[in-house]
């Protein structure tokens, strides 16, 4: 048989399978990307509903709707679900959809493992969510699972531990797949420094994942054996130390923070040049800045623990190393601004989200800098200031970048343009409400309102109802997002291949919607 007929056959038997089998058995990066993104959207609403319970309870001082034990379950589960269920899977979904198209590959490097890394997640979250109905309730000691508090959990405890193991296994497999795809599947001629920024930031993120997810697995395994098998890792009477858990946990936890923001940097670095119609300013500096942030993320973890006590030299080291992160992050922010300088800018929805990211993430970054100062942190620790800080980097940071990416690439995925008017409505509602929600929390925290408490002193009442109104508004606005996505999938104005006038990169050379298999023959790289 000649090569042509063989290749021809290939096209025929490589279409999607029919019905449910397509989604359960798929090895296609686009199908798996879609699954990841839809799963993430679902979890965004599950976690969001929990946030609504929290804000409803905090609307007024006093206990109104839920009892304190359930309130604590809501804060803990909200965090676990948003981190491991919404933000991380969304980024992996975007990686699945976009990386093969951006580096000129036919698919992800390890397609069957790709399926597995997704399909572990629904089971892991079934385990986690089932704890809500167990004797003793769901995890309530905070997502950080500090002992000895977490050991007081009821039947939920082993389910929590094992669901974290499963999420970790899924993340590690996803990360291995992404690294191998980028290192082995790039089109000939695409050297690493010709690669777009989104694959670059994901490459570095994947290294972080492989380095720290196993450490989390180790930490929760120690919790499990302390609880059930009589070990003394976190018990001082046996020679261990509860603070040791915090060290191991945050050795995972701080890089985890960057796992949730580095891909966002990549997205913003794709979107701003497109709508400024200029090349990204300082491409190489962006790559090196990303790598520097990743390196620094390993040596700053104890800034989460200044108040548990540590030697002065430790406090100084972790304070200064934390502040150093502002340098590469500043490089990035200035490069984005410089990219827009004298650009021919237009303000479609993705660009609006990118600009909001730039402003609001920077606010979150600056409040992080304030928290890095040890004497200041002793005041801010465990207050609403911290809540405001990390929500500014995660909601108008990570989540806005995900929305930005969805609007930016949705025409490529579906072949239709989304409704621009509704998109702009979604943007403005989200941006206004996110600030109404979280900006007052800075003041609450500085005035001394502690986090993770269902009731508060009446002096905090005003800012709390403002924050709650903002939260309900933000939550409702996201229904618009769902409507826009699904109406875009169903129909709309035909998208061109390039979609955006200023678009750049291999993914825009493919038709819209992108064919089931990306680049069966590798493209030429100039």
């Amino acid at each position: 048989m000649s090569t042509e007929t063989l290749t021809h056959d290939e096209h025929h038997d490589h279409g999607p399978e029919s019905g449910l089998k397509r989604w359960l058995f798929t090895t296609n990066h686009k199908d798996i990307g879609t699954l990841y993104l839809l799963f993430s959207l679902l979890m965004f609403f599950v976690g969001g509903a929990m946030a609504m319970v929290i804000r409803a309870e905090l609307f007024q001082p006093g206990l109104q709707f839920v009892d304190p034990a359930f309130y604590n379950q809501m804060t803990t589960m909200h965090a676990l679900i948003m981190i491991f269920g919404a933000v991380m899977p969304a980024f992996v979904g975007l990686a699945n959809w976009m990386l093969p198209m951006m580096v000129g590959a036919p698919d992800m490097a390890l397609p069957r493992m790709n399926n597995w890394s997704f399909w572990i997640l629904p089971f892991a979250f079934t385990l986690l969510l089932s704890t809500l109905f167990m004797p003793g309730g769901a995890p309530a000691g905070g997502w950080t699972m500090y002992p000895p508090l977490v050991l007081q959990l009821g039947d939920a405890f082993p389910f929590l531990i094992f669901s974290v193991h499963l999420m970790g296994a899924s993340s590690i497999m996803g990360a291995i797949n992404i690294i191998v795809t980028i290192m082995n599947m790039r089109a000939p001629g695409m050297s690493l420094l010709k690669m777009p920024l989104f694959p670059w930031t994901w490459l570095i993120t994947a290294y972080l994942l492989i380095a720290v997810m196993p450490v989390l697995a180790g930490a929760v395994t120690m919790l499990l054996t302390d609880q059930f098998f009589g070990t003394s890792f976190f018990t001082a009477s046996g020679g261990g130390d509860p603070v040791m858990f915090q060290h191991i946990f945050w050795f995972f936890g701080h890089p985890e923070v960057y796992i949730m923001i580095l891909p966002a940097f990549g997205i913003i670095s794709e979107v701003i040049p497109t709508f400024a119609r200029k090349k990204l300013f300082g491409y190489e500096a962006m790559v090196y800045a990303t790598a520097s942030i990743a390196f620094l993320s390993f040596i700053v973890w104890a800034h989460h623990m200044f108040t548990v006590g540590m030697p002065l030299s430790g406090q100084l080291f972790f304070m200064i190393s934390t502040m150093l992160i502002a340098v590469p992050t500043g490089v990035k922010v200035f490069n984005w601004v410089a990219t827009m300088w004298r650009g021919a800018m237009t303000f479609e929805t993705p660009m609006l989200f990118a600009l909001a990211f730039l402003f609001l993430f920077t606010i979150g970054g600056f409040s992080g800098l304030m928290l890095a100062i040890v004497p200041a942190d002793l005041q801010y620790h465990d207050s609403y200031f911290v809540v405001a800080h990390f929500h500014y980097v995660l909601v108008p940071g990570a989540i806005f970048s995900i929305m930005c990416a969805v609007y930016y690439w949705l025409p490529k995925w579906t072949g239709h343009m989304y409704n621009e008017t509704l998109g702009k409505w979604h943007f403005w509602l989200s941006t206004i409400f996110v600030n109404v929600t979280f900006f007052p929390q800075h003041f609450l925290g500085l005035a001394g309102m502690p986090r993770r408490i269902p009731d508060y002193s009446t002096q905090f009442a005003d800012f709390n109802w403002i924050s709650s109104v903002g939260a309900f508004g933000f939550g409702l606005s996201q229904l618009l997002f769902v409507y826009i996505i699904f109406s875009c999938i169903r129909g709309g104005q035909k998208a061109t291949d390039r979609v955006w006038e200023g678009s750049h990169g291999l993914e825009w050379t493919l038709p819209s919607p992108a064919p089931y298999h990306s680049f069966e023959t590798a493209p030429e790289i100039r």
Binding site: F25, T27, N115, P158, H165, A175, P214
Partner: protein
Amino acid sequence: MAHTKDQYYVPHGSHWPIVGSVGLFLTMIGASSMLNGSATGKFFLIVGIGVLMVMVFGWFGVVIRESVAGYYNSQVDKSFRMGMLWFILSEVMFFAAFFGALFYARQYSIPWIGGEGNNFFTNLLLWQGYESTWPTNGPAEVGGDYEAMPPMGLPAINTAILLTSGITITIAHHALKDMNRRILSLGLLATWLLGFLFVGLQAYEYMHAYEAMNLTLGSGIYGSTFYMLTGFHGLHVTLGATMLLVIWLRVLKGHFTPENHFAFEAVAWYWHFVDVVWLGLYIFVYWL
């Protein structure tokens, strides 16, 4: 399925991953319920592990058949290699967490309980009379009197066994490259036998420790770090030796060529990783 060598092999849909997910799900439900004292837990655990075994056989079976049929070009081979190396790195980091716990306990928590630095009052008020030492089961002497595991004797023999197995697998690898299949299969046979011998001796050491030395998982931080580090290592040796056994059976069936033997190398890398972890264990857990 029709396929060309110059194309990257992208498989059809596969049902094995979802089978694996269901298996993991049942296993985790079973293990959790057992730990919570439920009688049905064991049933779920056994079924779950059974499903996982079926998945492992089925999934690897497909991959082996595809490999033997020649679907994998050099680029696919490279993907597998990279994937295995990064998987091993993730395993290294898993052990790093437990080594970290060991170092932290020895360097910080135990000296602090003993009053070092500015912890004088910690010692005076909470753990009066406790002097920092290693090995220790803590100021409350959790688990009662015990003997520490000496580095000589069995652990030293086990070290020699693992190091020897590292040599035999290298001999096998060279034999594979030289097309000397007799030495190849003998080398592999020796390697997996030594691997299981190690596991057997380790099991004997544990029984001795429990019965004669009263050294248990519950013997404070020393017992915790000792058993968790050597225990997870032992699990990895068991897994590695099982993989060696499978590779040996494949060699007997005539698989692998000097150019194309990713599975062999992956297992060899894994075996060396297990070996290196043991050296770390021997130095920091048994010896120092």
